[in-house]
């Protein structure tokens, strides 16, 4: 068996999730090769070589990989896919985008978002917003898998794999990357944060949402939001935690003014400790909270900032 992991990176570093995916890949048995596809991504290739459990790193560096267009990344993966028994990527925005394309071209039924490796062909994956865990067995010759990063620990940085260059394949020429508008923040990334402070509809407005910032500053936390808060325009889309937003599992998740819709719980219920602050004593979020306060968030949040010193 041989396992190919496709890294998500920003050219310089691996994105959070990739090292967890390498941990999942190591459980499959067989050598793990990491493919780093990008433009000016040599540093990311070097970072991948340091991850424990990696036997070899392949780096494909070419201008057409800027923006990681699904059509182009797929073509690159397909150029070497037949050498592997398993093709694995994190179930992040990038992995979700190109991996099903790879699977379809290999005539394989992808296994999405696995949370556990039972054996080389059997996996557990969450369905119905994480309310039902399905154990599935694949009969395909090559297994194409995306990994729920929060379900696996990140691999350590104790490796020293060989790095080889892999020739780029021609661009598909079907689409054009015109740039990204990334939310600038000095805070940790949601999917990598140890602590997350999240706001919901109860925040009331974009202006009010800002009262979470001093709290996040005190805790060194990332700031997230429920779908209701995003839909109401309080914060941008990339703040959204939930079934179809980001899946997070920090040490501490502080849910402020979030009632606890099923699709929000799906994104955060594996957090180690959950604190909920809501004035509605019947809020469903309390059913999964470790600690909760029934009170007005506009009173509690400033008090909490003071209490934390």
């Amino acid at each position: 068996m041989a396992v190919l992991v496709i890294a998500e990176h920003d050219g310089k570093q691996l994105k959070p999730g990739t090292t967890n995916t390498i941990t999942a890949a190591s459980k499959l048995g067989g050598d793990v090769t990491v493919l780093v596809v990008g433009h000016q991504c040599a540093e990311a290739g070097a970072a991948a070589a340091k991850v424990a459990g990696v036997a070899k790193v392949l780096v494909t560096d070419a201008p057409q990989y800027e923006g990681a267009l699904a059509e182009n990344v797929t073509a690159q993966v397909l150029s070497i896919a037949k050498n592997y028994s398993h093709i694995v990527a994190p179930a992040t925005g990038m992995g979700k985008n190109f991996m099903p394309r790879v699977a379809a071209m290999l005539d394989v039924q992808q296994i999405s978002d696995i949370s556990s490796v039972v054996s080389a062909d059997t996996f557990v994956r969450p369905t119905y917003a994480g309310n039902v865990m399905a154990t599935v067995q694949s009969s395909d010759a090559i297994k194409v898998i995306t990994v729920r990063a929060t379900a696996f620990d990140p691999a350590a940085e104790t490796g020293s794999a060989a790095v080889e260059a892999l020739a780029a394949v021609p661009a598909a020429g079907l689409s054009k990357f015109n740039g990204q508008e990334l939310t600038k923040s000095a805070r940790p990334e949601l999917t990598a944060a140890r602590i997350i402070v999240s706001g919901g509809r109860g925040m009331g407005s974009a202006e009010n949402f800002k009262i979470l910032e001093p709290l996040a500053d005190k805790l060194g936390a990332a700031v997230g939001a429920s779908r209701a808060a995003v839909d109401s325009g309080f914060v941008p889309n990339d703040y959204q935690v939930g079934q179809t937003g980001k899946i997070v599992a920090p040490e501490l998740y502080v849910a402020v003014g979030i009632s606890g819709a099923i699709q929000h719980l799906a994104g955060m219920k594996d957090s180690k400790v959950i604190v909920a602050i809501n004035k509605d004593a019947e809020a469903p979020i309390f059913s999964i909270a470790s600690y909760w306060i029934v009170d007005d968030l506009f009173k509690v949040v400033p008090e909490l900032v003071t209490e934390l010193g």
């Binding site: 699977a103 005539d107 039924q109 990204q180 839909d231 889309n237 990339d238 079934q243 600690y291």
Partner: protein, 249 residues
């Protein structure tokens, strides 16, 4: 321009899903079913493009049991013109769905296919990308805006760190994210009108597609329960618990 949209019938997202006692699947008897919310957004987008004079015909496809006709009628009540049901008793896995859709798209020749980004039952997030791959078309997933510009489409998509802009050549497959639009409520007169719209019923065999499942579900179960928490009186008690009991501060 002709558009093809897809509509999956799913358990209503606000219903609490229960695992069958024998662990073979989830209870569906007497459970409220609905159009997958992301498919509903896809249909709404097609209807808005028709109202704007960009789209001339909307074909809606569903795959599943005969009850999926209701899902197709919902899409027609929103404004789709014509329906196709690929009728099959067992649930088709995403690769099979993609192959069935490719066969229909080869025949219908739409310029644009709009799908939901994921179905909220099995949460796979695969079909749109697979259809695009099988057709050799470009894709744009998780879109929050689409503008047709001659032979291409200008796209805004939602990505992990913010937004991304793409240009895709047509024909293309796009998949709808939450912020693409807010679907309309269907009105009674439109529900009545939808009943008269053409709905074709075909079988997978007629499309020459092998729909045999590749994944075998060995069992389904509920996730491990969280240990129950406690209500705290005030901020002082909370911080104390977080420091001494949970030890996360």
């Amino acid at each position: 321009m002709k558009v093809l949209v897809t509509a999956k019938r799913v358990i209503d997202p606000y219903v609490k899903v229960r695992v069958k006692s024998d662990g073979t699947g989830v209870e569906t008897a007497n459970i409220k079913m609905t159009i997958n919310p992301f498919c509903e957004i896809a249909v709404e987008q097609a209807v808005r493009m028709k109202e704007a004079g960009i789209v001339t015909e909307i074909v809606v496809v569903s795959i599943g049991t005969i009850q999926c006709q209701e899902t197709i009628r919902t899409a027609m009540a929103m404004g789709a013109d014509r329906g196709i049901l690929v009728e099959m008793a067992e649930e088709a896995q995403p690769l099979a769905v993609a192959k069935l859709l490719k066969a229909i798209i080869d025949k219908e020749q739409p310029r644009l296919v709009i799908m939901g980004k994921q179905a909220i039952d099995d949460d796979s997030n695969q079909c749109g990308q697979m259809v695009a791959a099988l057709l050799g078309w470009p894709q744009a997933t998780h879109i929050s805006n689409v503008t047709i510009n001659g032979d291409s489409a200008e796209i805004t998509r939602e990505i992990d760190g913010g937004l991304e802009k793409l240009t895709v050549n047509l024909p293309a497959v796009v998949t709808a994210d939450l912020r693409l639009n807010e679907p309309r409520y269907v009105t009674l007169p439109n529900i009545m009108k939808a009943k008269k719209k053409p709905l074709e019923n075909i079988k997978p065999d007629a499309l020459g597609v092998d729909v045999k499942p590749r994944l075998k579900t060995l069992k389904v179960e509920e996730p491990a329960k969280r240990s129950s928490g406690v209500k705290v009186a005030d901020v002082k008690e909370l911080v104390n618990k977080l420091k001494t009991e949970a030890r996360v501060l």
